[in-house]
């Protein structure tokens, strides 16, 4: 079984987000980067499958050389090999084309992505990869059972759905694929062996269909209005008359 886990390299969840002085781009100075949290669930799921039934796990990122520490971290957690597709990830469709090309040149049984990258919040790449390759796709996947084919549980608006399909398939995963407590942090041995695992660089697609024009911060909130705990009726009045929320 060959599993591909697509990993995006994103600012740590606690990072303060700054933009360049002219507002044209995100400013990565001083920001710690991590494996996209949704992809951590996917990577751990791949490890569970490997431990239960045997598999080779390849992790892949489309990006510049600055993302290699993130791929090395995925190797230290337990992936077998890493691919970096050398391209500027200008937009999702360009990233998805690079991933598609790689998949076409290699045989994978299962392609696990995260539901969303927490940087640009696209929720686009996995569906695009599936569409380009004409493969079954389950988004918001919160449970996956590989049994020759696959049975997958997904969140839908207001509930859940269970799907089954043949392999290969593409998954856009999230918490539930494995539990929070199952997530692994690299240990010393993992970090040592990661140094000798292969990290191969391939060339990717350029171009792009969309372009960021500018970035801004959301308007700052004015100071909170505190209501005394014994005047809850006053809060109800304000929510009705001032903010018109009820």
């Amino acid at each position: 079984m060959n599993i591909l886990v697509c990993i995006s390299h994103v600012p740590d969840t606690t990072a303060k987000i700054n933009f360049t002085a002219d507002g044209s781009a995100f400013d990565p100075a001083g920001v710690q980067f991590v494996i996209n949290p949704y992809d951590e669930f996917g990577l751990t799921k791949a490890l569970h499958i490997k431990e239960a039934q045997g598999a080779t796990i390849t992790v892949l990122n489309v990006g510049g050389s600055e993302t290699e520490p993130t791929l090395r971290k995925a190797l230290a957690i337990g992936a077998d090999q890493a691919i970096r597709i050398n391209a500027t990830p200008t937009d999702a469709i360009t990233v998805a084309k690079s991933i598609k090309n790689h998949i076409q040149a290699n045989a994978y049984d299962l392609i696990i992505c995260g539901q969303e990258s927490i940087d640009y919040n696209g929720q686009q790449v996995p569906a695009m990869v599936a569409a380009f390759l004409d493969l079954p796709f389950v988004n918001a996947c919160v449970g996956l059972d590989i049994n020759g084919g696959a049975t997958a549980m997904a969140e839908i608006d207001g509930g859940h759905a269970t799907y089954s399909c043949t392999l290969p398939m593409v998954v856009g995963g999230k918490k539930g694929l494995v539990e929070e407590k199952d997530l692994r942090i690299p240990n010393m041995r993992g970090i040592m062996t990661a140094r000798t695992k292969p990290l191969t660089v391939e060339e990717g697609e350029g171009g792009g269909h969309t372009a960021a024009v500018s970035f801004a911060r959301p308007a700052a909130k004015s100071a909170v209005k505190l209501v005394p705990a014994d005047q809850v009726n006053e809060l109800v009045r304000m929510l009705h008359e001032e903010s018109k929320s009820i």
């Binding site: 469709i93 929720q123 695009m128 796709f137 969140e155 859940h160 969309t210 500018s214 959301p218 929320s245």
Partner: protein, 313 residues
């Protein structure tokens, strides 16, 4: 030329986001100087109401069961489309990128306004989990917009409403084995009011008052991440940077500290109320209104006051 809008229906019923999608398309079409074509699987008798929100043409057809299947069908129905609109529901989040890939289009997801320019299309979208607003230009290929439900609201504006039926081959690559949707519950991403609680509630047995409060307000319930990690509440209620991102008119946070990862998923809410025993809780910096107090005392009073308010209004 037409702005094509996909209008989602469930068992022949439209959701609020469905009408909002037509309003969105109408607004874009007005700026671009063209018409609106709605595509839906709802029955013709039901679909004709889309004219009230600005649809000039309404095409009904049988659709595939999954987002990827519908996306592939839409790709074959674009005709003279100048742009496409899809609501960012769970289904829409699959349809839009599928369609973008198959039509080699230019997609903006998480979009929060209507186009400020139409050639090229320029819109704003949430990025960095509400810590940033990105202005994006859809330069190359058919512009496709998936918007955040509640972003622009519903506007009534009459369109010509010419009805037709469309034909298109359906195929799903997934077998749908089971669908379970809780009836009567308000779905979180679309909710206008969200009542959310955190670890301050001490245990799952105390959620009765949270559900009661949500019930009085017609709100959806949500929770912080640790609450769903410990299993007090289902994963599907986890909001925040790594959970569901919401933008309701009103977000009430009870016994939630207001960690940066939580705020990242809720700070787009129009009005925020924080209720917390700790006056130093970070949530008070992100809230519009706050009560420093014990949830176990404040919430029952709030339920009572709201009942009285609802009875009087």
């Amino acid at each position: 030329m037409m702005i094509v809008v996909f209008v989602e229906s469930w068992n022949n019923q439209f959701k609020k986001a469905s009408f909002e999608a037509v309003s969105y398309a109408r607004s874009w079409a007005n700026t671009a100087g063209c018409g609106v074509r709605a595509i839906t699987s709802a029955s013709a008798e039901n679909a004709n109401q889309l004219a009230q929100y600005g649809a000039d043409e309404i095409a009904t057809l049988e659709l595939a069961k999954t987002g990827a299947g519908i996306g592939a069908q839409l790709a074959g129905l674009l005709g003279d489309a100048q742009g496409v609109v899809v609501a960012g529901t769970a289904m829409g989040k699959i349809i839009a990128p599928t369609l973008a890939a198959l039509s080699n289009g230019a997609l903006s997801t998480n979009t929060t306004n209507t186009p400020t320019s139409t050639n090229p299309v320029i819109v704003e979208r949430g990025a960095f989990s509400s810590k940033g607003i990105e202005t994006i230009s859809l330069n190359n290929g058919l512009p496709i917009i998936s918007f955040v439900p509640n972003a622009i609201g519903i506007k009534e504006e009459v369109g010509a409403g010419a009805m037709s039926t469309a034909e298109s081959e359906r195929s799903d690559m997934l077998n749908v084995d089971e669908v379970s949707v809780a009836s009567g519950k308000v779905a979180l991403p679309e909710a206008e009011i969200v009542v959310s609680a955190g670890r301050g509630l001490k245990g799952p047995e105390n959620w009765g008052m949270i559900e009661e409060l949500a019930d009085v307000l017609g709100a959806a319930t949500a929770c912080s991440k640790p609450v769903s990690d410990i299993g007090w509440r289902p994963h599907s209620e986890h909001v925040g940077q790594t959970g569901i991102q919401v933008n309701p008119n009103l977000y009430i946070a009870i016994g939630i500290s207001g960690a940066i990862q939580h705020l990242a998923g809720v700070s787009a809410s129009k009005t925020i109320v924080a209720i917390n025993t700790d006056p130093e809780a970070p949530f008070f910096k992100a809230a519009d209104y706050g009560i420093v107090g014990d949830a176990f005392e404040v919430i029952p009073q709030l339920i009572e006051e709201l009942r009285a308010f609802k009875a009087a209004n």
